[in-house]
């Protein structure tokens, strides 16, 4: 399972926030844009920063610190995970991150660690969903290997995988269009594209794709198109239980299967025709 970790942004600012624990005003200036929403940060909400002892190092991503000292990346990860709970209410914003930080006992100024447009929060969410999907697909594969489950036909497998992944958006569906537009910002495109391609590759891998020719690209391109269009349909869907979306998905997957069937048929017809012509040529020349 390949987990996509996007690089934590603003590492240097993070260390300043964490090490300058005693200086409230310094931290206030980082999150100045969102300050109007907060009262002055509650006193005594510094335990995390103070207890970390000497200033944090960013060199060690796990090897060089003691057990109770977490790396910056882990801290950011925890803040973002906690922030997701507040997204339905606040959107993908610094407010949600601040609320998340509060639940962890951190100062709300920890939101200053991140961009104000919520990029990291959204990328974190996408990465988490992709990991969850990989885990589920892996479990399903194990069951099939142990003989405890039937192997699904390919169209059903693809349909289920895409549906499972899209269902993870349901709690955040109101605010998802906003997230999509942030993911399309030029700054975020490398990360969001990489997350998308690795998710699609994962789905095909667990579907049993073993192509080593150009089909590798064709299949992934087709599935990406299916996923993206279904996601857009879902944004506009108001039917109960998103049944319109799932029906759309089923039709698109069926179209893709038909297309590939037709392509195979065309190819074998073409080969048969060529063989016939060669045979005729040999006959004529004899």
């Amino acid at each position: 399972v390949r987990c996509q970790q996007y690089p934590p942004l603003r590492a240097l600012q993070a260390s300043a926030v964490l090490s300058g624990a005693s200086d409230e005003h310094k931290k206030d200036s980082w999150a100045s844009s969102s300050q109007q929403h907060f009262e002055s940060p509650p006193a005594g909400h510094q335990p995390e920063e103070k207890s970390q002892g000497p200033h944090p190092s960013y060199t060690g991503q796990g090897g060089q610190e003691s057990e109770d000292y977490e790396s910056e990346e882990q801290l950011q990860h925890r803040i973002l995970t906690a922030a997701l709970e507040f997204v339905p209410e606040h959107g993908w914003t610094a407010e949600a991150i601040a609320e998340g930080a509060k639940t962890l006992g951190l100062s709300v100024a920890a939101a200053g660690l991140f961009h104000s447009d919520g990029s990291e929060l959204i990328l974190h969410f996408v990465s988490e969903c992709n990991s969850k999907l990989s885990e589920l697909l892996k479990k399903e594969q194990k069951l099939v290997q142990l003989g405890e489950a039937e192997k699904k036909p390919i169209d059903e497998f693809l349909r289920d995988a895409v549906e499972t992944r899209l269902r993870m958006l349901i709690p955040y569906i109101e605010k998802w269009p906003q997230a999509l537009s942030v993911l399309l910002l030029p700054r975020n495109i490398p990360s969001s594209l990489s997350l998308l391609t690795s998710m699609i590759d994962d789905i095909w891998h667990y579907a049993g794709d073993q192509s080593t020719d150009f089909n590798w690209y064709t299949r992934r391109a087709v599935l990406t198109a299916i996923y993206n269009t279904t996601e857009l349909v879902m944004m506009q869907d108001s039917s109960p239980g998103f049944e319109d979306t799932w029906r759309f998905l089923e039709n698109r997957v069926a179209d893709a299967m038909t297309m590939s069937n037709t392509a195979t048929q065309v190819q074998s017809t073409g080969e048969a025709v060529v063989q016939g012509l060669m045979g005729a040529a040999v006959t004529v020349s004899n």
């Binding site: 390919i154 169209d155 192509s211 590939s260």
Partner: protein
């Protein structure tokens, strides 16, 4: 049915942790492309010289290349490596090179073989060096495969020489041109 013969229950996977994925990716991608191209070159040569006296020799070398391609295709699936986008292009370019050199005569076909196999041997040697520098224990299986293939490509090279490759008119021009092409192909296939 429909979706093609390349769908089977996914089983053969290599543990992906601890290996230098970008390096292994490149190695397998370019080697797969190389064997695919070599296949097409021999196919082109057979199309022209299949019924001549060197037909059986070329056929035998082609069979070995087919095995190489099969092995790299398996490795590609096991390591989850993306094939190069340029495969359709190598398909045509390889066939044209093979057929073109064969149309120039048997010796020219052998010269083409010598040039290509020399490039490939050198390329495999570079990879073996790189892998040994990384970690010979971790990549033992891959090293074994590449070493064996390098030895077989070297054999093809020697067979080409035995069949009067060097007697080709404009041998050094032909050889240089083909080897430049191989270098470019290797460079591109590693990256795209």
């Amino acid at each position: 049915p429909g979706a093609g013969a390349a769908l089977r229950p996914c089983s053969s996977r290599v543990a992906q942790d601890g290996i230098n994925k970008p390096v292994i990716d490149r190695i397998i991608r370019v080697d797969h492309a190389g064997e695919y191209g070599a296949n097409r070159i021999y196919a082109g040569q057979m199309a022209v010289l299949g019924r001549s006296s060197v037909g059986p020799v070329i056929q035998q070398m082609w069979n070995q290349e087919k095995n190489h391609l099969k092995k790299f295709s398996e490795l590609m699936v096991a390591y989850r490596v993306r094939p190069t986008v340029l495969l359709p292009f190598w398909n045509i370019a390889g066939f044209v090179l093979g057929a073109g050199s064969a149309l120039l005569g048997k010796k020219a076909a052998m010269a083409c073989t010598v040039a290509v196999e020399e490039s490939i041997s050198e390329h495999y040697n570079n990879q073996i060096r790189a892998l040994i520098e990384e970690d010979p224990e971790k990549y033992k299986e891959l090293l074994q495969v590449i070493k064996q293939f390098r030895d077989e490509e070297q054999e093809h090279h020697d067979i080409g020489l035995e069949h009067d490759a060097e007697a080709t008119p404009a041998y050094s021009v032909l050889k240089t041109a083909i080897q430049l092409g191989c270098k470019a192909a290797i460079f591109l296939s590693e990256r795209i």
